[in-house]
């Protein structure tokens, strides 16, 4: 019996993460802490309380109901003392305005599958299916493998979106039920990788050579201005890609859509001043990859 997974979102009609119309299952928990992360709610493995101050009408019910006395409300909005909060969820239950909510929910494989199967007609028409993303889906590899197995048995295609940062066994376990991998390559230089993501890329590069031999694979490069967009970095990434016999790259332009979520979780966002890369920059990066004979697409 596979343990339950912790899921923070299931998103239908997703068009950018694999072929056809897809449902993305976002699994909670990630060993990386990328500076630009647009899904900060996916980083911690356990559920978290989030507050949306614009929806709060200061009814104070949450303050009254909280058993840990962790909530206060002031002019700015809702304050949560995260040291005290036990994530019991009582506050969200009494909030009629959805100003408080919980990111992350324990679900069984069957429960997630029930959501995924809902769009099966659309998958069939479009050659789509399910995509596991996160967070880092390999962080919950037992669960991801079990979900993918069940999907394949039902004729639903599977795509894994991963940072590649996982134990080799865990990776292989999931890959045996995976049709296509979208494999992140954030930068080539190991030191820079630590600065940008908090971890070294040794394990990631090792796993890349394993994965690319087992399953069709597309590389995804987040294009973060002033972080990983230098000519030297891009060329080094291109080298790695061709060395692994991979021929497709997708560029993921940096965006700030995740910024609001940092505030909801009382976290700091370090790239507030950064703007989306210009079309010129994206084109330049694309051309470098293409000069290495790679098919390169900008995901927009």
């Amino acid at each position: 019996m596979v343990a339950e997974g912790v899921i923070f979102n299931i998103q239908r009609y997703s068009l950018d993460d694999g072929p056809g119309i897809r449902t993305i299952v976002f699994l909670k928990g990630c060993p990386l802490k990328c500076l630009w992360c647009a899904n900060p709610e996916g980083q911690k493995h356990t559920p978290e309380v989030a507050h949306r101050d614009s929806l709060c009408n200061k009814c104070m019910r949450c303050v009254q109901v909280c058993p840990m006395k962790a909530i206060s409300v002031d002019a700015e909005g809702i304050r949560i003392n995260r040291d005290l909060c036990s994530v019991c969820g009582e506050c969200a239950k009494v909030c009629n305005r959805e100003a408080l909510g919980i990111y992350g929910k324990s679900m069984t494989v069957e429960e997630v599958f029930e959501e995924v199967i809902k769009d099966v007609d659309f998958y069939k028409k479009s050659n789509g299916g399910v995509t596991a993303s996160g967070g880092e889906p390999l962080f919950q590899s037992e669960f991801t493998a079990a979900l993918f197995k069940k999907c394949l048995e039902a004729g639903i295609g599977t795509v894994l979106e991963t940072s590649g940062y996982a134990e080799e066994d865990n990776l292989k376990k999931v890959l045996s039920y995976t049709d296509l991998v979208l494999y992140d390559l954030k930068c080539a230089d190991p030191k820079l990788h630590i600065q940008l993501t908090g971890v070294s890329n040794n394990l990631i590069l090792k796993n890349l050579s394993i994965a690319s031999n087992l399953v069709p694979l597309i590389i995804r490069v987040p294009v973060i201005p002033n972080c990983n967009d230098s000519q030297q970095e891009v060329e080094a990434m291109a080298q790695i890609i061709i060395q692994n016999g991979i021929d497709k790259v997708e560029l993921m332009p940096y965006h700030r859509f995740g910024m609001g979520k940092y505030k909801m979780l009382d976290r700091n966002y370090f790239l507030e001043e950064l703007e989306r890369p210009s079309d010129g920059l994206l084109q330049k990066v694309k051309e470098i990859f293409e000069s290495y004979g790679l098919a390169c697409k900008i995901v927009a």
């Binding site: 239908r12 009609y13 068009l15 056809g20 009814c59 009629n96 809902k118 769009d119």
Partner: protein, 851 residues
């Protein structure tokens, strides 16, 4: 039932090549731009000429049979109406003497017209209120004409008979009171709308010209047929002692048709003469040749069968123009399947080198603008209107023939390309999608939808549209020949749908149910006593009570229709169906001596009324909220909820928020979708329970849209779905409450396809997409797959608005900068800046999928 089997080996066109070629054509040639700009910048003027000609003729023909009188009045209008050929035009025929103008005929609604003149809806200068301008001189003429007719109003036959048979209390249910019953005929006070032709034919009917039949014969051919009919009657008269009443009707109808046809030919001839005259004085040799060509064409059509694409377009334009001259209030005239009509001309002209593709494209673009220049006077003040007046000139393209073969052609693509590049709010285009349609064409249509920006074209389920008529016994050849009409209706080319729609206001009925049959707005016990809902112990009890009330009011609705129809058929005829339409169906009307809609239709559906309802989504969400909060979770009592909605949520905002945060329709959630499906099916069962009293058949049911949801909402208090009192109810019975379809478009589609569309028309699914969901070819392919899944699951009508919210908010603030921004409201497109703030807000509130 005939099963449609596609014929193997039916020639597949090279769509990619056709589309690429058409896309490379610039439709916005200098000539097209000039015509468009001149029209767009011109103010709308109201003109008295038709009205004066009509009155003059009517005074001279007092003793003649009505049909003949009508034909002579039409002839007078056409003989006297001012002509204009505007600079650079190739398709000619101006509705009025202005660049932008509309006719009125005072005899039709004299009191309403006088009121509009008094209220400043028609004025000599631009104002907040003014819908149209008029010169002081024309105003004087029109006022005088309207006063003449205001003294000659006929009795209110329908209401007098309603009072006699159904009693005074039936009026409590009508539109200007409780409004349980809704529809154009369903007003308790109709004085303003009475004229010598009454409201019956003025609005709400849906007309269509059978182009192929009419073009094949030309008006000279129709005259020949009518003359033969006259001869037949005369011979009958000579051969027998007595002649039947029916033969006399035939005789008069044939005579009248000849009068009308000859007048139309004279009218075209006047244009030929004008063009020739202008050519003689034209210095520019190129334009001179064009004017000479125009003269030649106007001499030929519509008297004869068109010989090429240009003549075919001129033929169609003349006939539609004549229809508007005959009845300027007649808004719902579909253009129909013009891709089918025009294709033979298009193919032949290209093959024989008569025109280049660019020339054909320019002609169609000019025709498109010409169609947009028809205006109908809207008597509502501009600042309180629901939506700008639309004439609903719907174009239908694509579809399958009776063998299942795809009939989409190059002209279907050309129409889409003209629509995309010109971005006029009308005509609306409907694509009849079926499984043998090429993917390339579907993707192209979606791309045009995206670039056009406002849900145009919409997509209809071809197979279902045909199947409904096959099941009603219409032979395959005619069953496949149907068009989109009115707002969200559809009908056979061989019939007209002429009786309008009678609707139930489900939200009002639900409110009455919550009050044990009592209507809080009128303070009267209008419904049955189905019990105090606060004493109910299950949601099933509430649903039963609601359906009992629906059944009770459905019977009232049917009786009102029954009495109306009797009044129509038995009262002295002051009303006549427009002759221009009658003569295009000459092969049905001539042999019977009856105009269409009064019996002369090849199939019973041609004269059948549609029974409709609005508000299914509101009811489903309201019942779900009660089930969840009162019975399942027991968060509040029914009494608390009733008090909250009676107070319009004042002081009860928390309860309202609870009601908003329960499961909502449109999210693929069986908790509420099951209720929606149950209410959907049951209400239709009730509406179809008793056969149509005049055809003995089951009526089509109808779930309308356009702006009816605003009209319905105005009389209904707060509802348990969280809606505020007197605000619009949800539009389109399968669209979700704005902002409440939070899950995904696929979820909304699944919710919308759990119900059956087999016996109804309407019920469109309006979806709104941000541009980021459709900005690449790959995403359009995925959208195409979604559309196909919608139809596979039995969906009927789907349309997309593709916009971003910043654009809309900016447009609301700075309308002058966003003059061309188009949105689709219900069944038709409109310029966003023309919409009132309440509708703008509703559009903004619609969930932005994928943002």
């Amino acid at each position: 039932m005939t099963v449609l089997v596609p014929v193997k080996g039916f020639e597949q066109k090279n769509w990619a090549k056709i589309i690429a070629e058409l896309k490379s054509i610039n439709m916005l040639t200098p000539r097209v731009q000039k015509r468009w700009k001149e029209w767009e910048n011109a103010p709308l003027y109201l003109c008295p000429e038709s009205s004066l000609s009509f009155t003059k003729s009517w005074k001279q023909t007092e003793g003649l049979p009505l049909t003949l009188r009508w034909a002579k009045a039409v002839a007078a209008i056409l003989d006297e109406t001012p002509l204009r050929i505007w600079d650079g035009e190739l398709i000619v025929g101006s509705p009025t003497k202005y660049l932008r103008g509309c006719d009125v005929i005072a005899a039709m609604f004299p009191k309403r017209l006088l009121k509009s003149l008094e209220e400043g809806v028609i004025d000599n200068k631009v104002s907040e209120r003014a819908t149209a301008l008029i010169t002081d001189e024309d105003r004087k003429l029109l006022e005088e004409d309207a006063r003449y007719w205001a003294d000659k109003l006929p009795p209110d036959y329908a209401n007098d008979l309603r009072r006699e048979i159904l009693g005074e209390e039936i009026f409590d249910l009508m539109m200007d009171r409780a409004q349980v019953l809704e529809g154009i005929p369903l007003r308790a006070h109709r004085e303003e709308e009475l004229g010598i032709f009454g409201p019956m034919w003025g609005l709400g009917g849906v007309f269509y010209y059978r182009w192929e039949k009419l073009m094949e014969h030309g008006l000279l051919g129709v005259i020949e047929k009518a003359e033969a009919e006259i001869k037949r009657v005369e011979e009958e008269g000579a051969g027998v002692a007595t002649i039947s009443r029916e033969a006399c009707e035939r005789y008069i109808l044939a005579k009248s048709m000849i009068v009308a046809c000859k007048a139309i030919i004279r009218y075209a001839g006047r244009y030929a003469a004008l063009a020739r005259n202008m050519a003689a004085n034209e210095g520019n040799p190129v334009r001179k040749r064009e004017l000479e060509k125009i003269a030649e064409i106007c001499d030929w059509v519509p008297a004869n069968q068109p010989r090429n694409f240009w003549e075919a377009l001129q033929f169609i334009h003349f006939m539609r123009l004549v229809g508007f001259k005959e009845n300027p209030y007649c808004r719902d005239t579909s253009l129909g399947r013009i891709d089918q009509v025009l294709y033979p001309y298009y193919e032949k002209d290209l093959k024989e080198g008569r025109f280049t593709l660019n020339e054909l494209a320019e002609l169609l673009a000019l025709f498109w603008i010409k169609t947009r220049t028809f205006d109908s006077f809207d008597p509502e003040r501009r600042d309180v209107r629901h939506a700008p007046g639309t004439l609903l000139p719907n174009v239908t393209i694509g579809g399958a023939d009776e063998k299942g073969n795809d009939v989409t052609n190059e002209v279907s693509c050309l129409i889409l390309e003209v629509m995309r590049q010109l971005r006029l709010s009308e005509p609306a285009v409907y694509v009849r999608f079926h499984k043998n349609m090429s993917d390339e064409f579907l993707i192209y249509a979606l791309e045009c939808n995206r670039d056009y920006g406002g849900g145009n074209p919409a997509f209809l389920n071809d197979e279902l549209g045909t199947k409904r008529y096959l099941e009603r016994g219409v032979p395959p050849k005619d069953a496949v020949d149907w068009i989109a009409s009115g707002c969200l209706g559809y009908h056979l080319v061989s019939c007209i749908h002429a009786t309008g729609t009678y609707n139930l206001n489900l939200c009002k009925i639900f409110e009455i149910t919550l009050n044990n049959g009592f209507d809080p707005r009128t303070g009267k016990q209008l419904g049955l006593k189905t019990g105090e809902v606060s004493k109910f112990t299950s949601v099933e009890q509430l649903i039963d009570a609601f359906l009992k009330q629906v059944d009770y009011f459905a019977e009232k609705l049917r009786m009102v229709y029954f009495v109306d129809r009797i009044a129509f058929l038995t009262s002295p005829r002051h009303v006549h169906s427009p002759l221009a339409n009658t003569l295009t169906h000459f092969d049905y009307t001539l042999p019977k001596g009856e105009p269409l809609g009064e019996g002369a239709a090849p199939y019973p559906d041609g004269i059948m009324v549609w029974f409709g309802d609005r508000g299914t989504t509101d009811i489903a969400d309201s019942i779900a909220a009660i089930k969840y909060l009162v019975f399942d979770q027991k968060k509040i009592t029914m009494q608390q909820l009733l008090e909250a909605i009676r107070a319009n949520w004042e002081g009860c905002e928390d309860i309202r928020q609870m009601c908003l945060n329960v499961p909502k329709y449109g999210n693929d959630d069986p908790y509420v979708d099951d209720i929606h499906t149950y209410i959907w099916e049951k209400t239709q069962e009730i509406l179809q329970k008793r056969p149509d009293p005049f055809t003995g058949r089951k009526n089509f049911t109808f779930k309308g849209a356009a702006t009816g949801h605003i009209v319905h909402g105005r009389v209904v208090g707060a509802l348990p779905n969280g809606r505020l009192a007197y605000t619009p109810i949800n539009d389109g019975a399968s669209s979700a409450m704005p902002g409440m379809d939070r899950n995904a478009p696929t979820a909304t589609i699944k919710s919308a396809t759990k119900v059956s569309y087999s016996r109804l028309t309407g019920g469109p699914l309006n979806m709104k997409f941000s541009r980021s969901l459709v900005n690449t070819r790959e995403k359009l392919e995925k959208l195409a797959a979604m559309v196909k899944t919608f139809f596979d699951r039995g969906g009927w009508h789907i349309q997309f608005n593709i916009l971003n919210p910043e654009e809309l908010i900016a447009a609301k603030k700075n309308p002058e900068k966003y003059k061309h921004l188009i949105v689709r409201v219900g069944g038709y497109s409109a310029y966003f800046v023309d919409l009132p703030p309440s509708v703008q807000d509703e559009i903004i509130a619609r969930t932005l999928h994928g943002m």
